[in-house]
Amino acid sequence: MAAPVPVQTPAGIEPAFDLAAYYPILIYAVVVVAFGLGTIAASHLTPFKPRKPTRVKQMPYESGMDPVGSARMQFDIKFYLIAILFLVFDVELLFLYPWAVLAYADGGDPTWKTVFGGVVFAEILVFLATLAIAYVYAWRKGVFQWR
């Protein structure tokens, strides 16, 4: 790998983004996928295990009873509501992450903080307030209530 390329940013001179830093993860991913699939395949294909399927053994397990109806059943609307709320909060959270990393980091440009620090602080307060309003609304609507 070549030496890192310097790039001028407001914070100073930093190394440019280099995809090479992610190569280990790619290689590791290949190894881990091979491990996961390989273990299942090896255990599936090995000749040293008994294979005696019977009709009863292949039924869905319902504590010894014969299964009643299909397992593809309807389920509570609560799960959908939780999923939607999760999307709202998680996206809000994702917006907060870049700010959290940059806002009070050392080594930044000091003039940037004196000029924009207060504005950013106020903006994040407004952002959190909208989040809080949505949260209170959901609570009052009874989304968090499990019956």
Binding site: M1, A3, P4, P6, G12, I13, A20, A21, Y22, P24, I25, I27, Y28, V31, V32, V33, F35, G36, L37, T39, I40, A42, S43, T46, K49, R51, P53, Q58, M59, P60, Y61, E62, S63, A71, M73, F75, F79, I82, A83, F86, F89, D90, L96, Y97, A100, V101, A103, Y104, A105, G107, G118, F121, I124, L128, L131, A132, Y135, F144, Q145, W146
Partner: protein, 409 residues
């Protein structure tokens, strides 16, 4: 160590996977031993001295047991689900340091200083598979969310009511607890100013403190969410044995069940490393880590400290599992949505204000303790009606219903 070296990488991958799987194997043994000890039993003690070879025997048995694939399952997803579970959990450990690390250098004012800092950085050796990644913790959280797919695929494809209910509960629980998990550590990132785990460790070493002292409330929220994410008891609703048999892995047998269980323990190990690094100072231990000055001895000592902290976390999880009973599902959801999210937001707000006005970080310890105590007082005042609301109970009239009589002899 940003230099990319395939041989080094191969050694790290093999060593790390072997190490993690070894720890996982012995965690299962420790779990059984601890449970036996708590319940006044002996536990596994036949295979090897004191049962020490039990994990190997278990692995062999998982491999050689009959593989029952029920006739009604969705075969592709059914076979894929354990692989997804174990792949996502193992992948998460790629950015997690498992020994002493050096933080990547800060931005420099001049090119010469930049070159010098980079050269200096490249001379050091970091015990991470992929060092110097800026996404750091975000990558771990992303793979933690992907773990939901393993669970929901397993539950859906098995075509079994217990599996489906377990998968639904589990996915609802995992996504609910992801929000407090992400919100609580935002304070840490604000203070440190980086997502990089090596930089977070270096910050704690430089400031001679542990972030758990600065952010006790965030630590508590993170700990609880991490247990819930890993479906450890008291949060193991997805596989509540008394209600759902085995939850989402009811229909699994042989090695596929083994992989599912292995994924859970790998989550525990990863969470242990993350907690140790984010809150317990990584490889630092109040200056004790600098006792050995030679490079090899020092590295071994620091790695031992970090791994020791991880094992303390795992041991704590074991003790909690066999001490605290399981929550009811509505209580579990109420804790995530009505208690932990507001507390995490409040904590974030405190950190923001303290950093904006440049107050000392000790204030944060105070606000954390105050918020925690305030939440406790509020809960007492409301008589627990937030997490455990009174539900209408329909009382039956006394005596037998009309027209029903006892069987006469």
């Amino acid at each position: 160590m940003p230099e990319f070296d395939p041989v080094y990488l191969a050694i790290v991958i093999v060593g790390l996977m072997g190490g993690v799987l070894g720890v996982v194997g012995y965690l299962t043994l420790a779990e059984r031993k601890v449970s036996a000890w708590i319940q006044d039993r002996l536990g596994p003690n036949r295979v090897g001295p004191g049962g020490l070879l039990q994990p190997l025997a278990d692995g062999g048995k998982f491999f050689l047991k009959e593989e029952v694939i029920p006739a009604h399952v969705d075969k592709v997803f059914y076979l894929l689900a354990p692989a997804v579970a174990v792949i996502t959990s193992l992948l998460a450990i790629a950015v997690v340091p498992f020994g002493p690390t050096v933080a990547p250098p800060d931005p420099q004012p001049t090119v010469a200083a930049f070159e010098a800092a980079q050269a200096e950085y490249r001379n050091h050796f970091s015990f991470v598979m992929a060092p110097g990644l800026d996404v750091g913790v975000l990558y771990v959280f992303a793979l933690g969310s992907l773990a939901v797919y393993g669970v929901i695929l397993a539950g859906w494809s098995a075509n079994n009511k217990y599996s489906l209910l377990g998968a639904l509960r589990s996915s609802a629980q995992i996504i609910s607890y992801e929000i407090p998990l992400g919100l609580s550590v935002l304070g840490v990132f604000l203070i440190v100013g980086s997502l990089n785990l090596e930089k977070i460790t270096a910050w704690q070493a430089d400031h001679r403190t542990w972030l758990v002292l600065v952010q006790p409330l965030a630590f508590l929220l993170f700990l609880v969410s991490a247990y819930a994410e890993g479906s450890r008891l008291p949060f193991d609703l997805p596989e509540a044995e008394q209600e759902l048999v085995g939850g989402y892995h009811t229909e699994y047998s042989s090695m596929k069940l083994g992989l599912m269980l292995m994924a859970e323990y790998v989550h525990l190990v990863t969470a242990g490393f993350i907690v140790s690094i984010l809150f317990w100072g990584g490889w630092g231990f109040f200056g004790l880590e600098n006792l050995l000055t030679d490079p090899v001895g020092g590295a071994v000592l620091k790695a031992a400290i970090l791994i020791g902290k991880m094992l303390v976390y795992c041991g704590f999880a074991l003790l909690i599992r066999w001490t605290i009973p399981r929550f009811r599902f509505d209580q579990l959801m109420n804790i995530a949505w009505k208690v932990m999210i507001p507390l995490a937001l409040l904590n974030l707000l405190c950190v923001m204000v303290v950093l904006q006005f440049g107050w000392p970080l000790v204030v944060l310890t105070g606000t954390s303790v105050l918020s925690f105590c305030g939440a406790g007082v509020l809960s007492v005042w409301l008589r627990g009606s937030v997490t455990n609301p009174k539900r209408p109970v329909r009382k039956l009239p006394p005596g037998l219903p009309a027209g029903v009589t006892y069987a006469s002899r």
